[in-house]
Each structure stands twice: as structure tokens, then as C-alpha cells.
């Protein structure tokens, strides 16, 4: 309760993050129900494109989450050097995931699958781009922390920032798994 | 101490202006509209009494407890009262809601012995068209590419389909009195709404859907059809008429129309 008490900021950051996650869940919830309704509304459903490259991207994103967890453990132990290595790895893998998604979109376009080709392709692009946009936001926070960490200006008070960024990153990982399930299995 | 007087005067004026029924529903032309009117009256009476009592009480409390230097009574509330008025309003409101469910069920869900006459209704920005299957009782095939309003083919009836040869297209909705009519509502562009005041019902016409909608008019006469869902700049002029005639006149009209085709 005491606003001046230590830990108030940390708690506030976490509460704010969880509130934000609720709104993201509502957005993707609306997206999902739109997809269910749209699929049932008409007989032009042709499945959802889900290239195999998505598995590679999923692996990359999973690895980046593992790296994030490793980094947090190093930070708790006070091992700043190892933290920097793990966190940098996670940032790099995050960038690689986004690059991989861009590659997926390029491949689909090359194969003639566009946003307005059929309902499945429309939902695929909207879902993946919305996810990537959220992920890019998380990645910017991650990269900012990384930059501070590499310049050794990441103070001990930044534990909260690292934790919040990590939770958000894991959440986006889970969200991705959910979307992948929707696209690969539910949609076809 | 103007406020109680203003609140009371407002409540009296509002209640009186409802009571005189100067601007009111048109006369009902079937049993459904008559039941609608009686259910509405009951609702209006309940809401009117609550309205009047609540406003009168509000004014009275303001008057009685105006500041005359008296000490306010400290009271944090009363669980018994909360339970009392919660249960009363719950019963009253849900009761009112349930009471009108039958009327809704009757129009939209009940099965009919008489399959009735089928008429297609097509709406576009900003006109109505109605199609009758003609003497053969069958609608001809349509193709959206053949739609041509200028050539009198707003439905896009396929020329060489024999079932369509005798189809009748009209810009007014003519129905026989006392019979169930199954309207098949379609729109080719945006959402419109089929509303006839005297029938007390309305239904959206949604592009991409064919919505069956049942009507029955008992009293012969002409009644205006008004679009009641915003459809663009000509929304206010999207008008047609429902012409209710005797079965005999209807049959004559149908024969004459079919002969003209």
C-alpha cells in the first residue's frame, strides 16, 4: 500500500504488464472469433497457408525464450558477463524470428498467396503481422536493455525492466504457439 | 426550492403527453399488431408508474430534506432494503421481458400449417422490388450479372429459364388479406430494413443472406414501407407501399400481370 515502500514500482510494472496482456488477449480473441465466424459464414474457406518455414521460426523463438530465462538466472546470480551473452543471444534470435517471418511473407507472395487471395490467407497475414508488431515492440525493449547492458549501464534497479520484458517475451512465444496451432491444424 | 417543483411539473407534463396519445401508433391491421399494442400498453403502464413514483419521490425528498439547519441522519444503508428492492426489480424486469417473448416466438419461430405465398423482396440503394413466382408457383433462376434496373430486371432473371418466364416483378408489395406471406428478403448492396408500421415489425435485409420473414395483413388498404437501416444518402426516400387487397382482387391482379409478361 505504501507508495514510498521499496517494491512499489516493481509491483506497478508487473500489474501494468498483466493489464496490457489482457488487452492483447482480447485483441487476438476477437481475431479468433472473427475467424471462426468467417469460416462458418460461407463455403469459400480454402484453409490457411502455413509454410514449413514456420517450424524453423517457432524453434528460433523457443530458443530465444530459453536464452531469456538463462539470462535472468545469470542476472539473479550477479553474473553480469554471462547475462550479457545470454541476453544478446536472445535479442539476436528475436531479430532472426522477425526476419524469418518476413521471409515467410516473401515466399507466400512469390507463390501468389496475397492478403486478399482467400479468407485463410487474409487471416494468416493479419494474425502473423499483428503478432510480429507486438513482438517488434517487445524486441525494441529487449534491444534497449541489451544496449545498456553491453555498455555496463544496466543498474541493479533494472531487474524489473528485465523481468517485465521477459514475461512479455514468453507471452508472445505462447501466443505464437497458439496462432501456429490455429493456422496449421484448426484452419485446415 | 425550485427544483422539486420543476421535477414534479416535468413528470406531470411527460406523463400527460404520453397519456393523450396525440402522436401514436397507426391502427393495427392484424392480430400480431393488436397484441403488440396491448403488450406495449402494459409495459408503458408499468414504466409510467415507476417513472412517476420515482420522480415524485425524488422531488418530495428534495423538498422534505432541504437544509433548514437540521442535523442529517447518519445512516450507512440497510441490507434488508437492498434485498427487497433488488428482488422486486429483478422479478418485475425479467417478468416483463419474459411476458413479451411469446410475441417474438410467434413471429420468428413458430411453425406454420399454411406454408403461404412466397414473395422475394430485393432492396438496393434506394429502391424496393418484389418478385412473384407467377402462375407456375416457381421462381425462375437469377444471375447477378443480368441485373438491369433500366430494363426492368432488378432481380437478374435468366431469360431462357422457363420457370422465370411468368415471374412478376413489381415496385409495390401487393398481398392478399388474411393470408400468411413468406417474404424472402435480399439486398444487393448495403444493409436495408423492411418496416411497415401497421404490422409492427421490421427486419434487416443483409447482402449475402436470404432472410425469410413472415407477414400477414388482415385489413385491406395501402401502407407505407420505410427503409429503417441507414443505407446511404437516399435513405430517407427509400419508400414503397404494401397494398393489401382481397383474395379475389389479388388473383385478378396476378392473372392480369402474368398475361402481360
Amino acid at each position: 500500500m505504501n507508495v514510498a515502500a521499496p517494491g512499489a514500482r516493481r509491483r506497478a510494472s508487473h500489474t501494468g504488464l498483466y493489464a496490457f496482456l489482457c488487452s492483447v488477449i482480447m485483441f487476438f480473441g476477437a481475431f479468433t472469433s472473427a475467424m471462426v465466424v468467417r469460416r462458418g459464414a460461407s463455403n469459400d474457406w480454402k484453409g490457411i497457408p502455413a509454410p514449413d518455414l514456420l517450424w524453423v521460426n517457432t524453434g528460433i523463438l523457443a530458443l530465444s525464450s530459453v536464452a531469456v530465462e538463462k539470462a535472468r538466472r545469470h542476472l539473479r546470480e550477479g553474473n553480469r558477463k554471462n547475462f550479457n551473452i545470454a541476453w544478446s543471444t536472445a535479442s539476436l534470435l528475436g531479430a532472426l524470428f522477425i526476419a524469418g517471418q518476413i521471409l515467410v511473407w516473401k515466399d507466400l507472395r512469390a507463390a501468389g498467396v496475397f492478403l486478399n487471395s482467400h479468407p485463410g490467407s487474409a487471416f494468416f497475414y493479419v494474425g502473423t503481422v499483428a503478432h510480429a508488431a507486438h513482438l517488434a515492440g517487445g524486441w525494441i525493449a529487449m534491444a534497449f536493455l541489451n544496449w545498456q547492458a553491453l555498455r555496463w549501464t544496466l543498474g541493479p534497479g533494472k531487474r524489473t525492466a528485465v523481468d517485465v520484458a521477459s514475461i512479455y517475451w514468453h507471452f508472445l512465444g505462447l501466443l505464437w504457439v497458439y496462432l501456429l496451432w490455429l493456422f496449421r491444424f484448426w484452419g485446415n | 426550492m425550485l427544483l422539486p417543483l420543476v421535477i414534479w411539473a416535468t413528470a406531470v407534463l411527460v406523463a400527460a403527453s404520453f397519456a393523450i396519445k396525440r402522436w401514436w401508433f397507426p391502427a393495427p391491421i392484424n392480430a400480431h399488431a393488436a397484441s403488440f399494442d396491448s403488450i406495449f400498453s402494459v409495459n408503458l403502464l408499468i414504466m409510467g408508474v415507476i417513472f412517476f413514483v420515482a420522480q415524485a419521490l425524488l422531488g418530495w425528498l428534495i423538498w422534505k430534506h432541504r437544509d433548514r439547519g437540521q442535523q442529517a441522519r447518519h445512516s450507512e444503508g440497510s441490507t434488508r432494503l437492498e434485498i427487497l428492492w433488488t428482488s422486486i426489480t429483478l422479478l418485475l424486469f425479467v417478468g416483463a421481458g419474459l411476458a413479451s417473448t411469446g410475441l417474438w416466438y410467434e413471429v420468428h419461430l413458430s411453425a406454420l400449417a399454411d406454408a403461404g405465398l412466397k414473395i422475394e423482396v430485393a432492396a438496393k440503394q434506394f429502391a424496393w422490388s418484389f418478385r412473384y413466382p407467377g402462375p407456375d408457383g416457381k421462381f425462375g433462376k437469377t444471375d447477378i450479372k443480368l441485373v438491369n434496373d433500366a430494363a426492368g430486371n432488378p432481380f437478374g432473371i435468366v431469360e431462357n429459364d422457363p420457370a422465370g418466364k411468368d415471374d412478376i416483378v413489381s415496385s409495390a408489395l401487393r398481398v392478399p388479406a388474411g393470408r400468411h406471406v413468406q417474404l424472402l428478403l435480399q439486398s444487393r448492396d448495403v444493409i436495408h430494413n423492411f418496416f411497415v408500421r401497421e404490422l409492427r415489425i421490421k427486419q434487416d435485409l443483409v447482402p449475402g443472406m436470404t432472410i425469410p420473414f413472415r407477414i400477414r395483413a388482415d385489413k385491406p388498404g395501402e401502407y407505407e414501407i420505410a427503409c429503417s437501416e441507414l443505407c446511404g444518402l437516399g435513405h430517407h426516400q427509400m419508400r414503397s407501399v404494401l397494398v393489401v387487397v382481397s383474395q379475389q382482387d389479388y388473383d385478378t391482379w396476378l392473372r392480369r400481370q402474368a398475361a402481360q409478361r
Binding site: S23 | N43, Q70, G77, T101, W104, L230
Partner: protein, 585 residues
């Protein structure tokens, strides 16, 4: 995310003009920015409605001003139907989003939530600033629609596709104007979500010592519940907006079915569902009504208690009622769609849930009456508006029970009955609460009192005015008059209703003019009002323990210790008729 304001912040009084007044992170400045934006938006919205009402009653009259403003929309000074519909669309959008959603939460909520819970600022001050400027940008983008080719959109504030999704061929304003509308709403969603996150975090984490949840003033409960509703509702509207934008700009078919022929042109779309948009829109749209009114309910409860010198009757029941309203608001959206072509069975379910929302609303009304019952009523302008709120809330709420029944709504849907209903319950009630809040808190925000005589005149004329505007609309609705008609000349049955429309229009002119009294009072009092003390109303909540206006750092290094609930008025045996929350006795 910006750093939370856990510790007392350093005052930035020595910042330059930009940081102090424009890009301030101080919740009080941001609150005032929201209030200013809302007042401006309200007068724009009023002006649009006056033009609309004028046209409805005098459709043939030529008005040079109109031609100057809209050369295409009013050639020769006569308003075209498309201009009428675009004014209507903009009136609705501006009023719903930039007045009714903005002033209760963004304005008063921002200013007073931290003060009432004893915090130094909102949890994320920079995010707070970002929300305001995003809202502002959203407003600018919306207004820009007036100035682009084709003008403002004409699809109404509900923007149903296909009308809103097929572009210019469906009418002028459906081109770039409608695109700007969608963009503006998307920005507004983002701003509201940022605001909601801030309000929730602030309420949960920044309460001062002793301020348990059940010691919070009902205003805070109102803002808190509203923030939770916003958090769950705006994300869904955002999703709907994104899909609508893609249907418009990228050729997708989320909402556009096959075989659409608009203006004799066959479109290539396939398989979309127009009803899908309505579901997404109203899943947001119904909770939106409560987003507008809940903060007002909180403020009215507080103001009634203060000026009755009595605790709020049934404090806990009031909280429960708000939370139940918040929950139910998410399961009743279908009552906007009874006649839309969705399953008639679901209409019955939605209907029963809808009439159930009447119950917590009735509980609140009973408790307001209980609050003034046995009190010692001081009829200040704030109190008059709070009591007026109760009156219009009853009047507007009861018609909702009629509209909530699908069999009856089958007649009333999209008639003036609905227009009268929602203006009364959502518009007038919320605005009355906002007026009450303005008169109540102006002394705190500015350190000066508003003029009571002018305030009373403004209240009485407005009270009579709104009934005179909106009650005749109910009769037009009972006679079957459809809403959103630019002209009543085409239908025989509408000709009989001209008296009603004349009455409404003249009452609207009158009431609109009366609002200038408020504007004058506000501005005059801002500079010239007599000095207010720290606690002119002898109120109990924490903001009244600070000087007026409060210092930038609020409570600074001494956050108060709270000892009691928010409404300890007329406690038996107490030395004075109120005990403030931080007083031990």
C-alpha cells in the same frame, strides 16, 4: 513502458512552457488537457446537431454560411442529404468518443484518481501523456475528414459494412473520409487501452497507507471499473477496425459477401459476413455505454453524499452494482441486433440478460434516493446537477426496458424512440454528471469558485431544455419515424409529425444557446472567480486536504495515512458534521 511514479517526483515547475503545459507528465495537467479537448469537442458536436435540426425543420431554407463552409455539401445554401448524414456521423462519433468517453475518465479521472487515493501521480506518467496526445491526434484525424475530397463519412457512428467498407461508390464521404474515420477510431482505441492500463495499475498499486479498496470513494470505483471495461472492450473494436480497414483498402472480404452490386458495379468480394462486424462493434459498443456512465455514477454518489451531509446509502451495494453492470455489459451486445438477421433464439437470451442489467441500475437509483433521504440538502449547482442526473437517469433508463424486449424492439429499432432513449441515458445523464463534477471540483482545480447564480440558471434551463428536446423524440418514435432520415417529405405518415420536430429543434436551439452560459461561467470564473479555500464544501476525501490547486507533487514526501471510509458525514458524537479520511477523530 514509462517508469512508474513510485517515489515522490521532483517538481518540474522550472521546466519550460512546453514541458509544463503541453508535454507535461503531471496527471493534473493532463486531466485539464482532456477536459479542454472535451469542451471543445462538445461545442463542435453541439454545432453539428444544431445544423442538423435546423435542416430537418427548414429543409428548403437557404443559408449562405452553410455554402461557405461546405460549397459541395450545400450548393446554394441548401443542405444536401449527404451533408446531413455526414454531420450526423460526425456528431455521433465526436460526442460518443471525445466527450462521453473522454471527459469522465480521461479528464476528471486523471485529475482526481491519484489525489483521492493519496498518490503522487498516475503509475506511468509518460504513458499518460502519450494517451492524451494519441487521443488528440485521433480527434485531429477525425476532423480532417471534413476537409478531404467527398467530405466526412455518412455511415453513422456505427459504420456498418458494406456501406462503410466499399468506398466512394456507396456515396460521397465513403472514400477518404471513411478511411480517416476508421484510422481515428483505431487511434482512439490505442489511447484508451493505454489509459486503462494506467488507471488499473494506479488503483491497485498506488493507494496510500490505510486506503483499502473498501475505503475508496465511489468515484475511484467508477474509474476503476470503467478502466477494466475499457481494457476488455477496446481491443475488440480495434480488431474490428483493422479488418474493416483491410476490406476497404486491401481488397479482403471479412465483411463483404459475394455478389455485391453497388451503384451498378459488381464487386469482386466473396464470402464475408456483414453481421460479423456488428458483433465485433457491439461487443465494444454496449460496454461503451457503461464506460461513459460509470464514472458519472461515482461522481454523483459522492456529490449527493457531500451535499446531503450523509454517507452514501449502501456503499457496498453500490460497488457490487457497478461490478455487476461491468460484467453484464459484455453479454448483452446482441440487443442492438435483434432485427439484424441473427438467430431469433439468441435474441431471447440477449433480451433476458438485457433486462437484468436494469436491476443493478435500479439498485443504484434506490441508493441515491436513500442517500438524500433524511439528509440536510444543500442545493449548490453541483448538487442540482447530481439530482438532475438521477431524474434523467430514471427517465432514460425505463425506456431501455422496452427496447430490451425483441418483440417491442421490432417496432422501435432505428426509430426516434431509440434516439430519445440513448440521448437521455447516455448523453444527458453523463453530461449532467460531468457538469456536477465540474462545479464540484472546479474550486480544487483552479482555486476559485464558479458563479453559483449563473450555474443555477444554467442548470434549470438545461434541465427543462433536455426534456423538451428528447421527450418529443419518443413520440416521433412511437409514430414510427425512422432515424437518420435527412428529410421527412417522402412519407405521408411523417408529415403529421412536423410539430414534434419543430418542438425538438427549437428546444435544441434554446438548450445549445444556454450552454454558452456555462462556457462563460467557466472562463470567467477561471480568471475572476472568488478564491476558494482548501475545502469549500466540507468534503471528506483526500483531495480536499491539499491546497487548491494542489501542488505539483501532490502529497510530496508525506503521503497521508487513511483512517476511515470515504463518506463519514454527520457521525453521531463527532465535533463537526464531517470527518475526513485521514482524520483519526
Amino acid at each position: 513502458m514509462a517508469a512508474p511514479a513510485g517515489r515522490p517526483k521532483v517538481t518540474n515547475m522550472n521546466h519550460g512552457f512546453l514541458r509544463r503545459y503541453l508535454f507535461s507528465t503531471d496527471h493534473k495537467t493532463i486531466g485539464l488537457q482532456y477536459i479542454t479537448l472535451s469542451i471543445f469537442a462538445a461545442f463542435v458536436g453541439i454545432a453539428l446537431s444544431v445544423l442538423m435540426r435546423f435542416h430537418l425543420v427548414y429543409p428548403e431554407s437557404r443559408w449562405r454560411l452553410l455554402e461557405t463552409l461546405w460549397p459541395d455539401g450545400a450548393p446554394g445554401g441548401v443542405m444536401t442529404p449527404e451533408l446531413y448524414l455526414s454531420l450526423m456521423t460526425m456528431h455521433g462519433t465526436i460526442m460518443v468518443f471525445f466527450l462521453l468517453t473522454t471527459v469522465p475518465q480521461g479528464g476528471f479521472g486523471n485529475y482526481f484518481l491519484p489525489l483521492q487515493i493519496g498518490a503522487a501521480d498516475m503509475a506511468f506518467p509518460r504513458l499518460n501523456m502519450l494517451s492524451f496526445w494519441t487521443t488528440f491526434l485521433s480527434f485531429v484525424v477525425l476532423c480532417a475528414a471534413f476537409f478531404v475530397e467527398g467530405g466526412a463519412p455518412l455511415a453513422g457512428w456505427t459504420a456498418y459494412p458494406p456501406l462503410s467498407a466499399v468506398g466512394q461508390i456507396a456515396g460521397p464521404g465513403q472514400g477518404l473520409g471513411q478511411t480517416l474515420w476508421v484510422l481515428s477510431i483505431a487511434l482512439f482505441c490505442i489511447a484508451s487501452l493505454m489509459g486503462a492500463i494506467n488507471f488499473i495499475t494506479t488503483t491497485l498499486e498506488l493507494r496510500t497507507r490505510g486506503m483499502s479498496l473498501l475505503r475508496m470513494p465511489l468515484t475511484c470505483w467508477g474509474w476503476f471499473t470503467t478502466a477494466i471495461i475499457s481494457l476488455f472492450a477496446f481491443g475488440v473494436l480495434l480488431a474490428g477496425g483493422v479488418l474493416l480497414l483491410l476490406d476497404r483498402e486491401a481488397g479482403t472480404s471479412f465483411f463483404l459477401p459475394a455478389g455485391l452490386m453497388i451503384n451498378d458495379k459488381l464487386l469482386a468480394n466473396k464470402g464475408g459476413s456483414p453481421l460479423l462486424f456488428q458483433h465485433l462493434f457491439w461487443f465494444f459498443g454496449h460496454p461503451e455505454v457503461y464506460i461513459a456512465i460509470l464514472p458519472g455514477m461515482g461522481a454523483v454518489s459522492t456529490i449527493l453524499a457531500t451535499f446531503s451531509r450523509k454517507p452514501v446509502f449502501g456503499y457496498r451495494a453500490m460497488i457490487w452494482a457497478m461490478l455487476i453492470i461491468g460484467f453484464l455489459s459484455f453479454v448483452v451486445w446482441g440487443h442492438h441486433m435483434f432485427i439484424s438477421g441473427m438467430s431469433p433464439y439468441s435474441s431471447i437470451a440477449f433480451s433476458l440478460l438485457t433486462v437484468t442489467v436494469g436491476v443493478p441500475s435500479a439498485i443504484k437509483t434506490f441508493n441515491w434516493l436513500g442517500t438524500i433521504w433524511g439528509g440536510s440538502l444543500r442545493l449548490t449547482t453541483a448538487m442540482l446537477f447530481a439530482l438532475g442526473f438521477v431524474s434523467v437517469f430514471i427517465s432514460g433508463g425505463l425506456t431501455g426496458l422496452i427496447l430490451g424486449q425483441p418483440a417491442l424492439d421490432s417496432y422501435f429499432h432505428d426509430t426516434y424512440f431509440v434516439v430519445g432513449h440513448f440521448h437521455m441515458i447516455m448523453g444527458v445523464a453523463t453530461v449532467f454528471a460531468a457538469f456536477a463534477a465540474t462545479f464540484y471540483w472546479f474550486p480544487k482545480m483552479r482555486g476559485r469558485m464558479m458563479n453559483e447564480t449563473l450555474g443555477r440558471i444554467h442548470f434549470y434551463l438545461t434541465f427543462i431544455g433536455v426534456y423538451a428536446i428528447f421527450i418529443p423524440m419518443h413520440f416521433a418514435g412511437i409514430a414510427g419515424n425512422p432515424r437518420r432520415y435527412a428529410d421527412f417529405a417522402q412519407f405521408d405518415f411523417l408529415k403529421d409529425l412536423s410539430f414534434l420536430h419543430k418542438a425538438t429543434t427549437h428546444a435544441a436551439f434554446f438548450t445549445a444557446a444556454v450552454q454558452l452560459l456555462f462556457l462563460f461561467n467557466f472562463l470567467w470564473s477561471w480568471w475572476k472567480g472568488p478564491k476558494a479555500g482548501q475545502n469549500p464544501w466540507h468534503a471528506t476525501t483526500l483531495e480536499w486536504t491539499l491546497p487548491s490547486p494542489p501542488p505539483e507533487e501532490n502529497f510530496g514526501h508525506n503521503p497521508p495515512q487513511v483512517h476511515r471510509g470515504p463518506y463519514d458525514y454527520s457521525l453521531p458524537g463527532a465535533p463537526k458534521d464531517f470527518l475526513m479520511q485521514q482524520e483519526e477523530r
